[in-house]
Amino acid sequence: MEKVLTARIGKKDSRSIDTYLADGGYTGVKRVLTSGMTPEQVIEEVKKANVRGRGGAGFSAGVKWGFLPKDTKGKPIYLFCNADESEPGTFKDRLLMENDPHQLIEGMILASYAIRCRNAYIYIRGEFYDGARILERAIGEAYAKGYLGEKILGSRFSLDITVHRGAGAYICGEETGLIESIEGKRGQPRIKPPFPAVSGAFAAPTIVNNVETLCCVKHVIDRGAEWFLKIGRNEKNAGPKLFCISGHVNRPGVYEAAMGLPLKDLIFGAEYAQGMKGGKKIKAVIPGGASAPMLTAAEIDDCPLDFDGVAAKGSMLGSAAIVVINEDACIVDVAKNLSKFFSHESCGQCTPCREGTPWLYKVLTRIEAGQGRMEDIDLLARICNQMANGMTICVFADAAIAPPLSSVTKFRAEYEHHVTQKRCLVGARAAELVTV
C-alpha cells in the first residue's frame, strides 16, 4: 500500500511548514474554507469514511461528532486531541507528532471547522518534551501563514490551538480523565452519561479524538470517503493504519499498512518486523497494547489486524500495539510485569480497581517467586471477575484483568509449574501444554 500517514516521514525538514506546503499540505483547509463546504458536509464525509478511533476504542469519529447538540445554548464546543499515548507497546503518535506536526494540525483545523470549535487543545503526555516543542513551533508557523488565528484565510472561521502538557498519568488517556485533567484536576474518569459530546470540559460539548484519527481526517477530506473505504479488508475496517510492533522481533518499529494486515505478515514480512530475533518460536502475542488479552502462537494464524478481526480472536486491536513474546519468556513474569503497570496507574477512584490491581500484582509476584499455592491460580481468575464488567466507572479495570485472565486461561500449565516446581516452564514443553 502507498504510504499515507507516514508518507512525509524521513523526508528532509518534514516538520517545517514550507516542506508541508510544497507537498500539497493545507490544500484541504483551503478548499473547505473557500469552496463553501459546510461543517455538516465535512462531518458527513468523515461519517461516510467510517474513520474508527485509532486511540483504542475504534469508535467512529464522524458518529461521535454527530452526538454534539444542534443547539449548544451559547456554550462553546471544544476539541481535544488525545496525544497522551501511554498504552504499553504504543509509540505511533510520538512518531507522527515529532515528524509531521502539520499533518495533525491540518486534521485538527478540519475537525474544528466541522464541529464548530473555536478553541482546540492538544493534550500531550508530559514525557514528550520534544513532541510538545515541535508542535508549538509548527503551530507558530501555522499562525504566521494564516492557517490558525482570526478569520483563517479570510473566511469567517477562527481557531486557536494550544499545546497542553500532561504530567505522568496513564488514566488521562481515558477521555473523561483527560477532560478532568485539562480542567486542572486529578485525572479521574467521570461517570457516563452525560457523554463528553453533550457535557464535557467546562460543562460544554467536547470531542476527544486521537492523534492518528485526526491525521486520517485530513486525508479523508483531501481524497474522499470512497478512497478511504477502499483501503482495508472491508468497509467496517477501512483506511491506512499504523502498527507498532515491539518485543522479541528482528525489526521493531512503526509500520503503515492497510487496515486488516495479517498479523503473521507484520511479524514475519520482509517489509515489516522480519521475524523472530534469533529464530526463536513465538509463545504469545499481545495484539493491542497491555490492555488486550494475549494470543497464543496458534491463534495468530489467520488474524487480520483490524478492529473486528482481532475481536473475533477474543482480543482487541486497541492502539495497534503488537508485543511479540518468544518461547524463552515466562508467561507468569510477563503477566506480573503488566499487572505492576496497572497497579501503579489505577487512579484510585473505584474500590474494585484500586484494591484489585495491587492484589493481582501481589499474587502474581508470589507465584513468580515460587511461593504460590495451587489455589492462587483460581484466586487470580476470581479477583479478575470481581473487578470488571461494569463494576467501575471506566474500563481501566477491564484492561487490567486482560493479562492475568488470558494468561491463566491459555498458559495454565506454566502457572501450575511455578507453584509445584518453583521455577519457570519455558521452551518446547511449555508450548505443548498451551490450552488454546
Binding site: 514525557e127 486557536d160 505522568g168 498519568a169 521493531p252 497491555a290 510485569n337
Partner: protein, 172 residues
Amino acid sequence: MSHTRYRVMEAGEARRFPPEAMARIEKILTRYPTKQAALLPVLWVAQETWGWISKEAGEEVARVLDLPPSHVDGVLTFYTMYNLRPVGKHLLQVCTSISCHLNGAESLLERCGKRLGIGLEETTADGKFTLVEVECIAGCDRAPSMMVNDQYFEPMDAGKLDALLDRLSREA
C-alpha cells in the same frame, strides 16, 4: 497514582514567582477559559523555576490561580512527573514496562543503581543523579529505553549506559 514520591514536609521560605515566570503565567492564562485549567501548565512553570515543587511553591501556585492549596496539593500528588523532593541534576528515568522488560530493562536499572551507589528514588551525595523507574515512555521499538531529564536515550545497553554515566559525571 504516585505511590512513592510524596513530599516530605519541609520548612522552607515563602516563594514568589520571579517576574519572568509571572509573564509566562499571564500568557498561559489567556489560553484557558478558567484559571484552574491552567494548573498543570503553571505547575510546570513552578518546576522549571525551582527544579521541584515544595510546599511553599505549591502555595504560590495556589495564590496566583486563586485555588485552595489543598486542591493544588491533591493534583500535584496525582501526577508522577512533578518532583515533590529536590532531585539531582540528571534525573535518570528507566522504563521497565513490557517491551523494555522483555529487552533487559531490569538489568539496566540494576546496573545504573550499582554504578551510582543509590537505590530507586534516591539521589547521589553530590546531588548529580537521581534514579527512578518509569512506566512505558513510548520507546518500545528502541527498547530498553530511558530518559535523562527531557531527553530520550535509546536503545540502551550496558556499554552505552556506562558511557552516558561517565559523560554526565564529567560535566560540571
